[in-house]
């Protein structure tokens, strides 16, 4: 159980290596890239929700900050895209810390309410500040370039994002099986027990919240550059819910579950597109069935069934 969690990482690498050679056209490459981007965001969110047992209903807001930092700063102020990305991440870190500090001193549903509110406020700000953000119509994002090298083709993006995904999976696996990760899981399992062994629970909750927010912000920037266009919908409440759903369907506290959840829920709307008009209904029905029959999420349920356990 100690070593073999990393076997999954090799499987992920193998799949990512083979995919570009099997996928028939750029539509599928694009879909694979979107899956991988969501997977990275969901990994960060699962550390918060699944492992530490805290909730965020406003994660798309953090995505929005990253995305718009990468759109606005280079367009209006001529910043280098990398600098803009880091500025977005720094702004997210500050905002997340300021919000999290007081909230985590409280117990119960305050965090859900506060993150929900925060996400909505960010979304409204992006819609209203139209002289900078283009308002509800959104705005174009300049291409990402580093050391004179432009990231333009789908294939280039595919390899870059695959690399980010593999590093994220590896880092998540490392983190979980470390003193920091054990403290996180312990405060989820029993808050009072973790306190009496010396875990400063507020500090740990804030740390993981800020970390997953920064993860989201960075991936927001990446998405903005990849798509080349941002709209406030990217930062709206429904996107936040979608991300939480990916965590829950894939499996709470499961690294590989995060990947499966992101892949399935990115693919599902595409697969259901043929049911014109009914896709949301079918989407909802599938989610309900998953929750009824696989309450722990796909990967943990299947792992328990086949007696492995992640």
């Amino acid at each position: 159980m100690q070593k073999n969690v990393y076997i999954g990482l090799y499987v992920v690498v193998a799949i990512l290596m083979v995919l570009p050679f099997v996928l028939p056209n750029s539509f599928y490459i694009d879909l694979a890239i979107r899956m991988a981007i969501n997977a990275v965001i969901v990994l960060g969110l699962n550390l918060l929700i699944g492992f530490a047992g805290q909730i965020s209903l406003g994660h798309a807001g953090f995505l929005g900050i990253g995305a718009y930092a990468s759109a606005v700063l280079p367009t209006h102020f001529g910043w280098h895209p990398l600098l803009a990305m880091l500025a977005g991440a720094a702004a997210t870190a500050v905002l997340a810390t300021v919000v999290a500090r007081p909230i985590f001193k409280l117990k119960g549903n305050y965090l859900a309410m506060a993150t929900l509110g925060l996400g909505i406020i960010i979304n409204i700000a992006l819609r209203n500040e139209s002289q900078w953000t283009g308002g509800p119509d959104g705005m174009a994002v300049p291409a990402f370039s580093l050391l004179g090298f432009d990231l333009t083709t789908d294939k280039q993006w595919y390899w870059v994002i695959s690399f980010i995904l593999v590093v994220s999976v590896w880092a998540s696996l490392n983190l979980i099986d470390s003193p920091f990760g054990r403290a996180l899981r312990a405060l989820h399992g029993s808050e009072v027990a973790s306190q009496v062994v010396g875990v400063d629970v507020v500090r740990y909750k804030v740390a993981i919240f800020v970390m997953s927010a920064v993860f989201a912000s960075l991936m927001g920037s990446v998405t903005a550059h990849y798509v080349g266009f941002v709209t406030p919908n990217f930062a709206d409440f429904f996107h936040s819910i979608e991300l939480v759903t990916m965590v829950v369907i894939g499996g709470m506290a499961s690294v590989y579950g995060s990947l499966v959840g992101a892949v399935l829920l990115t693919a599902l709307p595409q697969a259901l597109a043929t049911f014109e008009g009914w896709e949301t209904v079918i989407f909802g029905a599938i989610l309900m069935l998953c929750m009824i029959f696989l309450p722990k999420g796909l990967v943990p349920t299947l792992a328990a069934k086949f007696g492995k356990g992640e």
Partner: protein, 253 residues
């Protein structure tokens, strides 16, 4: 020298005075038992001393230093460990990981080093895993070293909590009803385990209903009733104390 000094400790929950003006001293290296009928305030007293509750009034000194009102994680840093009457096991973790969490403060908790799998961190973790396995043997859980916490019996989980507390390498350990819900054989084993812990130099404070075990183990006993100190002394003194007999047997002395 006194390990712990408690002076006029009280806590009120609204109108309920759960602990009232309780004072006592615990000497270093002894086994000290707190007994009393249900609802006497024993667990509340533990929660006050270990920082889970903040006292309304009163003073608690650990080796001379005032610690009342400190949070549990600050007290952990000063070598105070405890177990819980209602089990507080992290069921989302394996058995051995529960013990490893006990060593939290002795480890490098850096997030970045952890995510990047720094070799020093990894080797410290491997050493800790061996140490935790050793502790599990010490508390009699050798067959559960590779088990998941949610696959263990109640009696085993009680020991797992003790293992976790010992992983802190505490100076002072509070055991809240370690033998509650155990069968006579398991109770004797816990009795031996508490003795082993005390012999290793850790000061033990015990809440327990099993009188045989209390009389057997304790150097001194504190009796609480309705949140007040009823008596304090050696087992022999407590056994003969008319107030204690009255409280336990309901006789009007």
């Amino acid at each position: 020298m006194s390990m712990l000094q408690v002076r006029d400790l009280s806590i009120h929950f609204g109108g309920v005075k759960a602990v009232q003006n309780v004072s006592f001293n615990i000497d270093s290296g002894i086994v000290y038992a707190v007994i009393g009928p249900n609802g006497a305030g024993k667990t509340t007293l533990f929660n006050l001393i270990t920082g889970v509750y903040k006292p309304t009034t009163g003073e608690i000194r650990l080796e001379g230093e005032a610690i009342q009102g400190h949070s549990p994680n600050e007290l952990a840093r000063r070598g105070v460990a405890r177990t819980f009457q209602n089990l507080q096991i992290c069921m989302n973790m394996s058995a051995i990981e529960n013990v490893m969490v006990g060593a939290h403060l002795r480890l490098d908790r850096n997030l970045v080093k952890a995510a990047l799998r720094f070799p020093a961190l990894k080797s410290a973790d491997r050493a800790l895993r061996e140490e935790a396995a050793e502790l599990m043997r010490f508390v009699g859980l050798e067959q559960y070293i590779d088990a998941r916490a949610d696959a263990m019996s109640y009696g085993a989980l009680k020991r797992l909590e003790i293992g976790r507390a010992l992983a802190m390498q505490p100076r002072l350990i509070f055991l809240d009803e370690p033998a509650a819900g155990l069968n006579p054989k398991e109770t004797i084993e816990i009795d031996h385990l508490v003795r082993k812990i005390a012999d290793s130099g850790v000061t033990v404070v015990l809440v327990e209903h099993d009188m045989k075990m209390v009389m057997n183990l304790s150097d001194r006993i504190l009796v609480l009733d309705y949140g007040k100190k009823l008596a304090e002394g050696t087992g022999e003194e407590i056994r003969k104390n008319p107030d204690v007999i009255a409280a336990y047997l309901g006789a009007h002395a």
